[in-house]
Amino acid sequence: MIIAKLAFKNIYGAGLRTWLNAIALSFSFVAIIFLQGLYNGMNNQVEKATVDAQYAGGHYWQNKYDPYDPLTLNDAHEKIPGDLAKLIAAKKATPILIRQATIYPNGRFQNVFLKGIEPEQNILSIPTSVLTDDKESIPALIGSRMAKSSGLKAGDYITVRWRDTHGTFDANELKIAAVMKTDVPDIDNGQFWIPIDKMREMTAMPDEATIIVLEKGSSFSAEVDHWQHKDLEFLLRDLRALVLTKSIGGSIFYIVLLLLAMLAIFDTQVLSIFRRRKEMGTLMALGMTRSKIIQLFTLEGAMHAVLAALVAAAYGLPLLIHVARTGYGLPEASDSFGFALGNRIFPAFTAGLVVATTLLVLIVTTIVSYLPTRKIAKLEPTDALRGKLT
């Protein structure tokens, strides 16, 4: 207890030096919590948007389908088997048929994916209901990124050329029924959504599909011949890895901040030990053991972390609460990040994050505070009293 009291008196007595260290360290506190919260929020947002618009409760893929290999699309279609057809009839799943096609916007050609989907589905958060309105032409729904790259807008007609199941060319005009704004680029870039019945007719693939999307929370995972079940754990794996990579990249920033703060603490400790040689000698002469003196100096250093946590709470708390409520605006260029971010990220700060960060900073500060004090172990009281440091 006496050590704690002494340590507190000493760092209180150090005045401005203590506050400068505490403020520097508090920046690390706030930066770590802010960035980690930002990545947590990003992860939550990306996953939610992707699950809502793309994955729902998991997929069944036709055996030959590989989303990373467009070459597989030619053969990746098959009649929907009985078990899955029953789910679709009960509105617990929705089929999607995917083919490659070419569109001709403004006299140039552009390769796209045609995706047939049930207009009345509500398993995915894609506004497919707009595909039911038009009986005269083939309605198509595109995303804003697709609209931008092709120069198309709602009401426009576009010539599309595709091959049917036999490889025979066909061409027709699609009418852009609507342009949707979505945070999920995977349902937008290079994609045209059209009614699945029309698509099956166009491609001579009656009752066929490439993937089946299960409703959210679906527990159906039975083995189906020629179809592979893909759960959310599998579907989100790449996305999570991508977010983790970005999070690791981002952590470099606060590691640098933490290192700078630790350098300041280390520096303070070295200086403190050098300037307080006589004090150490006196304490030893009065009967304090070397290990007690080491404890005293280490505790003084560690107390900076406690002070820093209080300082960080004073200005960081209102700041982080404000950011959590209003979100962190992203520049337009972030659309090219490759995943569903939206215009703003809403950081997610959890109690676990705050406790873990406090513990991390406290432990690191304690270690850094301890390192220079090892010199004290070799200190002779007579030398110390004379101001010598061996």
Binding site: P70, L71, T72, L73, N74, Q100, T102, Y104, N106, G107, R108, F109, N111, T159, R161, R163, D164, H166, G167, T168, F169, D170, A171, N172
Partner: protein
């Protein structure tokens, strides 16, 4: 006399028509014109783009209908690029990257060197009689040459173009103009021949214009500088190893 004239007027077209070969016979003759065990072609492709035109020169070795090897000779940027077709597979080799790439799926729809020809156009079976039922739709004149107009409709399912309209020179049995249609009847491509030349008894195009009908632009000109038939081409040419040579 009056009745005789009327009778002649009625009979004459029938007589003339009876002298014309059947539609199937015409496309057989057209196929025969291009059929050879092998051929070596040196050609130029003039690609008209929005920012001007560029010329690509190539030498091709072809055997039967399913083997071909092409080496690009000019411009400098494309020089050394090679393309190998074996059956339904197509590989390209680029000296800049020193990599061999299998062209399939959506990549087959890409244009060759920015032209109006796609890779899949190069993969088509060139023999019409194998793929189409023909019907004579009439006769006309193209480039001052009398032609038959034939409507071709696919007789097999696995085919790229469901219908074609061809204008066949009545004397030389060479297609002077060709329209390629989608199943819906939409015109997809137009091929128009310019000059023709006679090589080893066959009439073949010297210049042709390929035009993607859905795309803007003036199309791609193909000029055949030289062609020789039934050459003895070594097997090694049609191997992946020759792409890197």
């Amino acid at each position: 006399m009056k009745y005789t004239n009327i009778t002649l007027l009625l009979i004459l077209p029938a007589l003339l028509f009876s002298q014309a070969p059947s539609a199937q016979e015409i496309i057989k003759r057209v196929d025969k014109n291009i059929l050879s065990d092998s051929k070596i072609v040196v050609s130029k492709m003039i690609i008209h783009g929005r920012r001007g035109q560029r010329t690509v020169e190539a030498k091709s070795w072809q055997r039967n209908i399913d083997q071909s090897f092409t080496e690009y000779l000019a411009p400098a940027r494309e020089k050394g690029t090679k393309m190998l077709k074996l059956g339904d597979k197509l590989w390209t080799y680029s000296p800049a990257t020193d990599r061999i790439i299998l062209i399939s799926g959506h990549m087959l729809r890409q244009s060759v060197m920015g032209s109006d020809l796609s890779y899949e156009d190069m993969m088509e079976d060139p023999f019409l009689q194998n793929m189409y039922e023909a019907k004579i739709a009439g006769s006309d004149t193209v480039s001052d040459r009398p032609v038959w107009i034939l409507d071709l409709k696919a007789k097999i399912k696995e085919i790229a173009y469901d219908a074609r309209k061809i204008w066949v020179d009545q004397e030389r049995f060479i297609i002077l103009k060709e329209n390629l249609y989608a199943k819906s009847g939409t015109l997809l491509k137009q091929i128009t021949l310019g000059e023709v030349m006679q090589v080893e008894g066959r009439w073949i195009p010297k210049t042709a214009l390929y035009k993607d009908a859905l795309k803007e632009g003036t199309g791609t000109e193909l000029i055949i500088d030289s062609i020789s038939f039934n050459e003895n081409i070594p097997d090694t040419i049609f191997s992946k190893a020759s792409l890197r040579k």
